[in-house]
Amino acid sequence: MKVLITGISGALARRVASYLALDGQTVLGLDHRPWPDAPANITLFEADLRKRPAEDVFRLHRPDAVIHMGTVTHLNARTEERYRINLHGTRAVFEHGERYGVKQTIFIGRHTVYGAAPDAPLYHTENDPPLAASTYPALSDLVAADLFAGSALWKMPEMCTAVLRMVYVLGPSQRGTLASYLSGPFVPTVLGFDPLFQFMHEEDAARAIVLALKAKLRGIYNVAGPQPVPISVLARVIGKGTLPLPEPLFHLALGKFGLPWLPRGAENHVKYPVVIDGSRFDEETGFEPQWSEKTTMEGFRWSG
């Protein structure tokens, strides 16, 4: 099978690409960022997803499947730029896919689309509406991209589309949304709140994506890792202290004193949990995380 991975230079995408290549699949990659030491059997195209050369990759190489990982979650990226990449990029992937005969598309989304709120339940199922746009406006582009990808299920019925809402990824690359939040010497939290955080190891996340491709999943799926743990436990196990700040000071302190910067609305995601139920995905793909919450956190600590 010929698989095109967008955003292939990201840490998780590189791992997915390597697994697929090892498995004997033909892997193409698209990214505007380089991947200098990529394995020789992976063909890379340096292009912006929204530009003509990206469409050429679809037209000339005719991939059977696309794994769309070219969305930006770095919260420090400029908002307008993120909107363009996430929304126009996602649209381009599906339009090119439809035009050039892609049979299967997997959109890699985030579990945070469900949003964190005091009255939100634990263990969201796929039937719950993604509410993050109201609880955390900075995520509204990812919610829109997720819903747009989901709309391909009825707009492009001949294409097999899967939307994966994946929990945070932690691993040796030390990259990703959660890793940057944990990057400083102290993890800033809101005093009096200790929500559950749900994450999985990079290796498990990559395996889950490969399984989704093989199982030809169609629909919207939560992909959860091992049991979630409170942020205080996460910080302790990875060898950091927490810095509990009274809520009014939380925003003032972020981005200073070596603390990470987070956009407005982030405090909801530090006060309340976003926890998903991944059992439907596990049943349909046979996925089971190989890394427990303990080994994931300890691995993250010692690879840093």
Partner: protein, 280 residues
Amino acid sequence: MFPGLPEELRERIHRLDIPFNAYGLDRFGISRDTLAWFYSLLTPFYRQYFEVQTTGIEQVPETGRAMIIGNHSGGIPVDASMVMASLFLDMEPPRHVHGMVEKFAQKWPIVSQVFSRMGQLAGLPEHAVQLLEAERLLLVFPEGARGTGKLYRDRYRLVRFGTGFIRLALKTNTPIVPFAFVGGEEALPTLLHSRLLAQLTGAPYWPVPPWILPIPKPVPCRIHYGEPMTFDGDGTESDEVIEGWVNDVRERITELMRDGLQELNLPIPAHLGQDLEALA
């Protein structure tokens, strides 16, 4: 768990039917250490302060899901914590019961954190289903905040019951264990409500007893568990059918309250007597 924890409580915590991970946490975020603290603080209140006498505890299933349903009373709901203590201290094997917390409490710093670590989740239907499907015990007061917000003159008068609990029990195939908690109304009799304090704290009401501060006084309390009740249905029945079953549970709790009041030699309030006559 902390060093000074009495051996009896430590042993009971270890016998709880909760799958804890390497950090003493379960999938809902319950912390074994927090439970140890909580139950060690609760034990003197249960045994000495309120001198709670529990009967019928053998009616609560030793394993598997069940809903524990009773009357709510007394301004500050000591009934919930005393029911938790009775199932932990007097039951063999000990069991931990999950309560459903008013949503406003989720916004309070510290409080929401402590509730979460004890498995007292926000009162959402999704949580109730998840906990029952995980074969836990669920404590539900169908009167809700209407129950604890009653004034002293209305003591032991059951206010309107929600119907959600019956539909939930039917949908999840869960037996209902009715109970009556007696003494809560005397421990914190609510003379009036302070609207100002309720608004400031975001609470649905703020009880003011004769001694002003909402601190329950030590009065003997009783918990009576009744036989489990099951109903034959799937939760999609019409309101009329459901309300009939709600009334069955309500009647059973009323009878259990009367028995408890009699055992404590407390006067039976006139309206409870009328309710009982109506039943007869």
